[in-house]
Symmetry: C2
Subunit: 407 residues, 2 copies
């Protein structure tokens, strides 16, 4: 398996486009299209929030119905959440406009939105945007990059990745893009992520792979504990790689799962590291836990703790907050077995042994914590299970961004 | 029932003291004593964190054993958490020193600590502090106030309250003090709170009253979602009011419960309003919910949401974040029935009706949100249950305080 450049247009037969539709922002692109030249199997996971955006309801129907899909239309600026029937009608109008331009059915067009909650989307601007997108669609990495840029909100960088893997003697490509930043504490998956692949795989196995992998990737990140109304992760598989269709679990399925996992994990980490106001990616790696479930609870609790996140921002080796966050995670464990190590590319240092303070230099620990990617290794000395979660530090800028996000 | 001035020394027979023991801070008091001239029935609730401070383990044994207690020794600066056997031995030494001075048993002395996790308490300084406290103990409101000041960490104001109620023809007083600020997301109760009363009440009913009431008071506040290792709430009842001992539920019990509730609620609200970096007390009042449990989940989720808290700090009527936080609370509800109103002493305004944006003025809403106490009224239009939770806004200062708390 190898990492390649590109994102949603890396796999064969996928096109993308972006445009300035002036939905809410000015002087920047705010709509994107992903299009496949042939129909795709589609799998998706969506927010577990009771309050679901209109576009989530639209997409869930398509994914649950087992139809094929050929296009995704995305806008940033307004989330189309808490918008009632008018919001749903807008999804339909957008899908219908795209379908007519592309010569496909409206039910083959997925839609996604991100931005402020409670405002109605301007249908006319959205439909006008759709026409420009379908006209502008292109193959190649630049089109994918522009699409990744158009879906950003408070993100500071666009996020995409792609990998290639050999399956049944054919080169299969899996690529994706996502946006994150705030309101990130995915329960089914995170805000918006789109993965495309030319793998030939049955819809059932595509959904199975996605549902399994999301638990170790998108569901293991958090920026602020807020589970969005719009979380959507879609995977489109158009089969153009020409591999024999994957219809059962086995070697081919496992290779596809590995590629999907690498794309999902890379996108999820990019999202965590670019959390609103973040200055560092904060990784918690739990090892030697009693079982997988506890390992996940522990890792996620640590990266979600406001106090720990603030300490990371301050480069302060305040390991007591880490142990405290583990203690309220819901996992059962013996605090007196716990060993905590912080690590980054500048080195590593043990802060806590047998649940008590280790003999370490605060200066050395602080130097290690100054890096852009910081890991805390949590050794439970209690079994074989492990899990990793990703978050970011809590900075002044998180507050600044969210105290006046709408204004 | 009437509110009176004072705190832990308001009830008959209670004394308090404070001293500078130089545990961690300099030039401020950092140890406090609460003492009753006669033995007290004692009830307590403690943190649900798996990682429990040594003092929590010490106190739990006393409360569970059903012994009487006559004194509480508290220090700020170091939490005595993650300190192993050495930490527990320190509790014993402190209790023993106090017991000898006061002519009581070591097992009648409760201890509590708050501050940084993972550091050992200096036993010599603690014991020297105990001697000064037992010598300096005094009746009267000033001694209570000084005790409340000595237990502060990042609190900006000391917190105490007291009420009087007639029970069986006698005046019963209930008073208390607490400290809060950060690592506040109580699961059994919050960081440190001490309530004293001269009511005569059986130990069983005292514990029953406390365990019931904490669910609607201390367990309904949050500053940052972090459940501390040290959360301790103790109630000492010395019986000196001379009422006929309350040994069963009935009118007397209910009157005592009302007084206890008012003290607990007042202390809990003070703690939330003085959360680290807070500029406002943020109250979420859920009404017309399907059931009490859902009402509590909804209220607590809203005041715990980082995004909503940041919006309150920015005086931004970003009601979509409130609905979003309700959606991931775990409560089941129909978003299309929800009505949201913000209110403060400057007025009130409906932001959301039937789950969608109401017609309101952003300027007017922002003006209402500028007050020091802000309430969001969440009308579920779905039943008769209600619940209230208290939190605070999320400000730059929260980050500042916690990025360099230890340094």
């Amino acid at each position: 398996m190898k990492q390649i450049t590109g994102g949603v247009t890396a796999a064969k037969g996928f096109y993308a486009a972006s445009c300035e539709a002036n939905i809410k922002y000015e002087n920047r692109t705010d709509m994107a299209l992903v299009y496949s030249e042939v129909p795709c199997r589609v799998a998706g996971v969506f927010t577990s929030n009771v309050v679901k955006a209109a576009c989530v309801m639209w997409d869930k129907e398509i994914v649950a119905g087992g139809q094929t899909a050929q296009a995704v239309v995305v806008n940033s600026g307004i989330a189309n959440a808490c918008t009632g029937k008018q919001g749903y009608d807008c999804c339909e109008a957008v899908a219908q406009a795209a379908a007519e331009d592309l010569g496909i059915s409206g039910k083959e067009v997925l839609v996604a939105s991100t931005g402020v909650i409670g405002k109605q989307l301007p249908v006319d601007k959205m439909v006008a945007g759709v026409h420009r997108l379908t006209e502008a669609k292109e193959a190649g990495p630049d089109a994918g990059t522009r699409a990744a840029e158009a879906i950003m909100t408070t993100d500071t960088v666009s996020k995409q990745t792609a990998v290639q893997v050999e399956i049944g003697g054919r080169t299969v490509t899996v690529g994706g893009m996502c946006k994150g930043s705030g309101m990130i504490h995915p329960n089914m998956c995170t805000m918006l992520a789109f993965v495309t692949t030319d793998a030939a795989i049955s819809r059932e196995l595509l959904q199975k792979a996605l549902s399994a992998d999301v638990k170790d990737t998108f569901n293991m990140i958090s920026v602020d504990g807020d589970t969005s109304t719009n979380d959507t992760l879609l995977v489109l598989a158009n089969g153009l790689a020409g591999n024999e269709e994957i219809t059962e679990e086995g070697e081919d399925y496992n290779r596809f799962l590995e590629a999907l996992h690498l794309v999902n994990e890379t996108l999820a980490k990019k999202m965590a590291g670019d959390g609103e106001g973040a200055t560092a990616l904060f990784e918690a790696k739990v090892i030697h836990a009693r079982n997988k479930e506890d390992a996940k609870l522990l890792a996620k609790s640590v990266i979600s703790s406001s106090l720990t996140k603030a300490a990371i921002f301050g480069h302060d080796a305040n390991w007591g907050r880490i142990l405290c966050a583990m203690g309220y995670s819901g996992a059962k464990f013996d605090p007196e077995k716990v060993e905590l190590t912080v690590a980054s590319k500048s080195g590593s240092i043990v802060l806590c042994k047998s649940g008590m303070e280790a003999d370490y230099s605060e200066e050395e620990a602080s130097r290690i914590l100054k890096d852009e990617e910081v890991t805390v290794i949590i050794d439970m000395h209690d079994g074989d299970a492990k899990a990793t979660a990703w978050g970011c530090d809590l900075s002044y800028d998180y507050v600044k961004i969210n105290a006046d996000y709408r204004s």
